[in-house]
């Protein structure tokens, strides 16, 4: 417990608003009649559906299979029948739809597996490590803190290199969110078991469970378990202390080199909910089909609820007292980094940690000109110059933006928060990042096309010189005159265009 804590630069002290939900026990809600399972709930490639419309599935059955290294399986959260595979609103900043598996939920069967096949960490540690890895992958576990990086990939990378420190992240630095705090309080035993198991799994020298310093109940619950598998450390509640890079700095004083991953400096960071999910997958073979979601903000019955993956947001909010959509809006995640949910039918996914209802504020018109006050500079946890990046992003100066290290930005939102001109800085940075990425993709595609065009040309000229007879012109084949041929060409294009319009 005598580890010295370090400070990261920048950050903000935000009003935590956690008292609204942190003392209320997690509750179940009645399940919806229909679940919508997006096939992509994680970082990486989308999973591929492996069920047919009309097929009956059991709870926990695989419905979409991962087909790439960085991808994840999706399981049925309840017994039911696959009603359709179609585009459906999802939680995404664009408000666009994505392919979902629609599942009509049948009557609920009691799940007895939890008691049936439980294994304690000591038993599990007698197994081969790859067996555990396999179970984690089969359970479809992704980082539950918000990023949604497939857990088995992270663990696998961890197993390839020496791990100095395993950090279990229970720091919810975003205001309002308490789902991890409640989880640690209510399921402290599972957290301890998970920490023990994963520490053994990645062969880490040390293991730290980090929590926020004003979370006394959580600290008490974990301290009661008296495990020597990990150190319990409370870190100051400065946003974004729960961000992976910043947490590493606070706990170890190390910095993740720009463009590298934590594992490159021997550190693995896992969210605490992910740890519990991993333990359940390893011990009970339970796939990830439900999670704890904080429902907070201007809603009559706030609290943490246990929701099946795929439950529509509207259903959850209705169960918590509902809200007025004319005056309020709903965010997925916290107020600093969350996504506004443009369509409430969108389902909860593996990474939805909070549904936050906030009032729509009608702001007076602000001049929104950057006065270069520099307020954004000291709060940036990365040490960027947001005011200079803003000018570069606004004028779409790609090179300048990259010179100013645009891609080191973690989009924490501190700069936008303090900006007195209320400039949506993070929005500008995201715009610039996306523009640069799409330019790069286009460029790569063009380079590829050029290469193939050149080969095509060389091949043509080679065949031309070898046997000219083989060359057939279009006019020869169809036996038409050139003018007729041209008419036909135009007709053909017109017909194709017509079809496209349909």
């Amino acid at each position: 417990m005598n580890r010295t804590l370090h400070a990261f630069k920048g950050g903000l002290k935000l009003a935590s608003h956690k008292d609204q939900t942190r003392h209320i026990a997690t509750r179940d809600i009645c399940h919806p009649e229909t679940l919508y399972l997006p096939i992509k709930q994680h970082v990486g490639m989308a999973a591929v559906p492996c069920v047919e419309v009309g097929q009956a599935v059991r709870k926990g059955e695989l419905v979409a299979r991962s087909q790439a290294y960085v991808s994840m399986h999706v399981h049925a959260p309840a017994d039911g029948i696959v009603a359709s595979l179609r585009d459906f609103p999802v939680i995404h900043p664009s408000g666009l739809q994505a392919l979902c598996i629609e599942l009509s939920v049948s009557e609920r069967h009691d799940d007895d597996r939890l008691t049936a096949r439980g294994a304690n960490p000591a038993d599990l540690m007698r197994l081969e490590r790859h067996v555990i890895y396999d179970r984690i992958e089969q359970a479809g576990i992704v980082g539950l803190g918000g990023a949604g990086f497939p857990a088995h990939v992270k663990m696998h990378e961890g197993s390839l290199q020496h791990v100095d420190v395993l950090i279990i992240n229970g720091v919810e630095c975003e205001p309002y969110i308490t789902c991890d705090a409640r989880l640690m309080q209510e399921q402290a035993q599972d957290v301890v078991a998970g920490a023990t198991l994963i520490r053994w799994l990645v062969e880490a020298d040390a293991c730290i469970v980090a929590i926020e310093e004003d979370m006394d109940d959580t600290r008490g619950a974990l301290a009661q378990c008296k495990s020597d598998a990990f150190e319990l450390i409370a870190v100051p509640a400065i946003y974004p202390a729960g961000s992976e890079k910043q947490l590493i700095t606070v706990l170890t004083g190390l910095e993740v080199p720009s463009g590298s991953l934590p594992i490159d400096i021997g550190i693995v960071v896992l969210n605490v909910a992910t740890v519990v999910a991993i333990y359940r997958a390893a011990a009970y073979g339970l796939p990830l089909t439900e999670r704890i979601v904080t429902v907070a903000g201007d809603i009559s019955m706030p609290g943490n609820i246990k929701a099946l993956i795929g439950t529509p947001v509207q259903h959850v909010l209705d169960q918590c007292g509902g809200f007025d959509s004319a005056t309020h809006r709903v965010l997925s995640g916290g107020p600093m980094m969350g996504i506004e949910i443009l369509d409430p039918r969108a389902p909860i996914t593996k990474v939805t940690n909070c549904l936050l209802v906030l009032e729509r504020k009608l702001q007076p018109p602000a001049s929104k000109a950057c006065i270069r006050c520099g307020d954004c500079v000291p709060v940036c946890p990365i040490g960027l110059q947001p005011q200079q990046l803003f000018e570069a992003s606004r004028s779409a100066d790609v090179d300048e933006a990259q010179d100013l290290n645009l891609f080191d930005c973690i989009e924490c939102g501190c700069c936008s928060y303090v900006c007195p001109s209320e400039i949506p800085l993070v929005h500008y940075f995201r715009y610039a990042k996306s523009s640069i990425e799409s330019l790069d993709i286009d460029r790569a595609a063009a380079d590829d096309a050029r290469l193939r065009f050149e080969r095509h040309k060389t091949r043509l000229s080679a065949s031309e010189s070898s046997d000219v007879d083989e060359q057939v012109s279009l006019a020869d084949v169809s036996g038409l005159r050139v003018s007729e041929l041209q008419n036909q060409v135009h007709d053909a294009i017109a017909r194709a265009r017509q079809r496209r319009k349909k």
Partner: protein
């Protein structure tokens, strides 16, 4: 159900979805509030003339800002509301002799708003501090009027509002002869050229306890205002402190090298626009450096330049020239003082 049939790009808002309480309007209100003690000190020492000029300057500034924005096809409402142009008007007025003719403040503000600010692209885009640009314009075009300051606390202070108004609106540029003269900085400079030693000047009427007579109090009032700004977090310590350090250090070196030729630390800090500059002019966010280290360089450079121009240049006060020169360097300073990025440390702290 609240469903949007189509996705309108303008509906898409990026996080964060909350913001801090400070806005530009609040900042400018705090600055205006902080200028109050200084203005009160002015009125006590020089009479109410400055109030008339403040009125003219504010009206001019608001009017021209409105006009300039409309010409560019921008809704002027939010810009007029935020009050930044009023701060500009106040700063110019404070640099103008209180009984200068009315068109002086009008011209100064007009030049500052139109050329100093909007010609460069408006709020946030001006390379130079617009207030200083306006002041320099006046200083270069009307050096005689700009040099005629009334002696503080003499008959000027006892003059009434109507009397001042008639003086400002009717008198010819040199109609205030006899009641006005040079400032302390001016005096020290002219006397030095007459080969008088600093020790001989101590008894001169125009000098006060440490600075120019009266100016000490005005500067202390600005110091109080500056303290308020620091307290409210409107101004951060780097720029004012480094400016005062630059000015103080240069003055101390000069004083130590030859006390008979150069005035000391306190004289320079408390005379002329010393503290006004430190808290209200150097700290202009738009035209100063913005990186933490850059702010130190900027302030220090401005301080040293001020001293050099005061002592060796031909103008009595060098604040305006010093700050405008540093403004020109600010983008370069920013570029050269980029802070270290997270994850790019060179030495291993392990």
């Amino acid at each position: 159900m609240w469903i949007r049939a189509f996705v309108n790009e303008s509906l898409i808002k990026s996080s964060p979805h909350i913001s801090g309480a400070r806005d530009v309007r609040w900042i400018m209100q705090q600055v205006l509030l902080a200028l109050l003690p200084g203005i009160v000190a002015y009125v006590i020492l020089f009479g109410p003339g400055i109030l008339i000029h403040l009125g003219i300057a504010a009206a001019t500034a608001l009017g021209l800002e409105n006009l300039a924005l409309r010409w560019q096809g921008i809704d002027p409402q939010p810009f007029l509301r935020d009050g930044s142009v009023l701060v500009l008007a106040c700063l110019i007025t404070l640099a103008i002799p209180p009984y200068a003719p009315w068109w002086i403040s009008f011209l100064g503000v007009a030049f500052a708003v139109l050329i100093g600010k909007h010609a460069f692209g408006g709020l946030g885009h001006n390379l130079f501090n617009p207030a200083m640009v306006g002041y320099i314009f006046l200083l270069l075009c009307f050096p005689r009027i700009m040099g005629q300051w009334p002696s503080a606390g003499l008959d000027a202070a006892s003059r009434g509002l109507i009397d001042s108004a008639s003086l400002i609106f009717t008198s010819a540029p040199d109609g205030i002869d006899g009641r006005s003269g040079a400032t302390a900085l001016d005096h020290v400079k002219t006397q030095a050229t007459l080969m008088r030693m600093q020790s001989e000047m101590h008894a001169d009427n125009i000098l006060g306890l440490v600075g120019g007579r009266g100016w000490e109090w005005i500067n202390l009032a600005f110091l109080a205002g500056g303290g308020w700004l620091l307290l409210r977090g409107v101004v951060r310590w780097r720029l004012p402190l480094s400016f005062l350090c630059g000015l103080g250090l240069a003055a101390s070196i000069g004083f130590i090298s030859d006390p008979e030729l150069h005035r000391g630390l306190w004289f320079h800090l408390l005379t002329g626009a010393g503290l006004l500059a430190a808290f209200f002019i150097v700290t202009d966010p738009v035209s100063s450096a913005t990186t933490p280290k850059g702010m130190l360089v900027f302030g220090f450079g401005a301080g040293v330049c001020t001293y050099l121009i005061r002592e060796f240049g031909s103008y009595p006060d060098g604040v305006a020239f010093a700050i405008v020169s540093m403004n020109a360097c600010a983008p370069l300073i920013d570029r050269l003082t980029q802070p270290r990025l997270y994850g790019t440390q060179t030495k291993e702290t392990k």
